[in-house]
Symmetry: C2
Subunit: 350 residues, 2 copies
């Protein structure tokens, strides 16, 4: 039984996990993080163009499945992503993801790709994009509190984009810090594993918090944080999950991706509704001020937004052009005559 | 460069357009439509269990891209579907679709499949499920007004599920009717191509309207429709797109899938808000009356709902088990140690 060969439009390039890993190694992870940071910044600078539909979440006892769509009027993107804290106990990923790009003018998909790795990359690139703008100039030392799946990506993005060279690691599970240190061997960091969060942040210009507990936690208290630092808070990213004591927020100038989403998911869910936040796209496009003094604490309350996925998908689509880093999958039915779907089906019989 | 072999959970079965066509032919289209009708009815009977999130639509000048998610608490499904009326002019499909099933407990995808063909099949099966309940008993003749991509699927579902054997076709483009007649050669229908909608409905117990114009149109006027018939109105399915004169609705008992969606997209968008509608799941589960007299006009104001896609995806997942009608695609990153995503990436280098 042979079917008619599908036309070009019916075949959608698919980037598997294996091919995504090949892409990272072919480009080089540090170069890729720099390029991705620039692509995300490009899209943040044209922020008002984007359709900012809220994500659609389906919550269950064990976790959440979300669809995150956006569009710039020419390209449509969405990401499927789950969050299941208990998965780790079964040897599964807490967060897995895949994504799709489509042409707005026809609705035809033009890219399907794994996004578990790509999300880790874009999250780190977004942190680096913001830190490049807000961190004290000449930052070289980063404290990383929480050394899970994001840790190495964060470290490499801060290195390649900002020149961070010293890491001070802390995790309540020391093996996580050891894993991170081991994985970063060969990337020319000076790395110290610390016994407490307090100790980790000593001498750091950038503090990255990235823990996984799904609850209100206090990873940092106010007395621990000195003036002039940049806090990159990426672990507090859903309702009921925060990492910072509210007093730190009271002392900081806080930057967010998309306020309606961050008020629900970010650190600022703990604050009064009149707490001031600055949209990071406005800083990047010159419409708002970033850091205004060297003693100011800047805080990026990051939750992850659909436009970052859009940028990452757009980057992958351009980067795989002319390579063999994708397969074509026959996803779209494509009859010779559009009204004759049944005829296509019948002709496939013979 | 070789990557570690992904584990079972990381591989997602993918049903291509070609494999979907093979599945239809292996099962036999009429048998498949009967089985699918029963699976959809099973899910409609347990309707209150489902999460009925509204679809998320991204509108543009040329069309719409929608994500339609639902879940029964154990399985999560969503469909990506576009609607671009101008596509036909470029030789493209107006509507293309694909869908995904995932486990609610882990968020891991378990099926990815084309859904352009599958949507045509589930739409026809849903019409047949409703007609089996509401059409006059012993219905043998169906008028079909609008003979586009859905026509043959509707005809075969009504034949296999209800025993319809006579078709009276009308389309403003006679070639569409000729295409439908030709495609249905060999399926043992008695088919007549008619010169008007009026003529097509003569002697029909079931009237299916399925035209594609994206505007308020009047395919049927009140004086044309006799008592006792069942109207299967599937073309009026988005804001501003209707097919029936309001006076027909005033004389009919109207059945809908999900009222909040049908009020926006269906024929009833023309009616006053106190116009009474009956939810079809309540009829199927014995909680509401269907047809109450042989002279009553019953009207199924169909717009298509996510639960029908859920049922269709569930059916395909079961039906491909043990066959070679799918490929496995490496969609989900699966490190040996969940927190060690970066380690997986690095090990793939060697």
């Amino acid at each position: 039984m042979t079917a008619p060969t599908p036309s070009e439009k019916a075949l959608v390039p698919f980037v598997s996990v294996e091919n995504m890993m090949r892409l990272v190694h072919q480009v080089g992870i540090e170069r890729l993080l720099v390029e991705l940071t620039d692509v995300i910044e490009e899209d943040f600078r044209r922020w008002p163009l984007f359709d900012k539909t809220p994500r659609v979440a389906s919550h269950s006892r064990d976790g959440v499945i979300e669809l995150m769509p956006t569009s710039d009027g020419e390209i449509y993107a969405f990401k499927y992503v789950n969050g299941h804290p208990k998965n780790m106990g079964q040897g599964l990923q807490t967060v897995t993801a895949f994504g799709l790009l489509a042409e707005v003018s026809t609705g035809y998909p033009v890219l399907l790709t794994e996004m578990t790795l790509l999300t880790a990359l874009r999250t780190a690139a977004t942190s680096a994009m913001v830190a490049r703008k807000l961190a004290p100039s000449g930052s070289t030392t980063m404290a990383m509190i929480g050394n899970g799946a994001q840790a190495e990506f964060q470290a490499l993005a801060m290195k390649s984009v900002l020149g961070v060279s010293r890491l001070r690691l802390f995790d309540i599970d020391r093996r996580a810090s050891e894993k991170t240190k081991r994985n970063l061997d060969g990337f020319c960091f000076e790395i110290e594993i610390c016994n407490s969060a307090q100790s980790a942040i000593e001498g750091a210009q950038i503090i990255t918090t990235c823990t996984a507990d799904k609850q209100f936690a206090t990873i940092l208290t106010d007395n621990m944080v000195g003036s002039g630092v940049h806090i990159n808070a990426i672990g507090g990213d859903c309702p009921g999950k925060t990492e910072l004591h509210p007093d730190i927020l009271r002392r900081s100038k806080t930057f967010v991706e998309y306020p309606p989403q961050t008020w629900i998911e970010g650190e600022i869910q703990q604050m009064e509704k009149d707490y001031p936040v600055t949209e990071i796209w406005q800083v990047l496009s010159g419409q708002a001020e970033g850091r205004t003094s060297s003693t100011q604490i800047t805080l990026f309350d990051s939750v992850g937004f659909a436009i970052e996925d859009f940028s990452a998908l757009r980057y992958v689509k351009n980067r795989i052009r002319g390579t063999n880093l994708f397969q074509e999958i026959d996803l779209i039915a494509d009859p010779d005559e559009p009204r004759d779907l049944f005829g296509m089906l019948e002709r496939a019989k013979s």
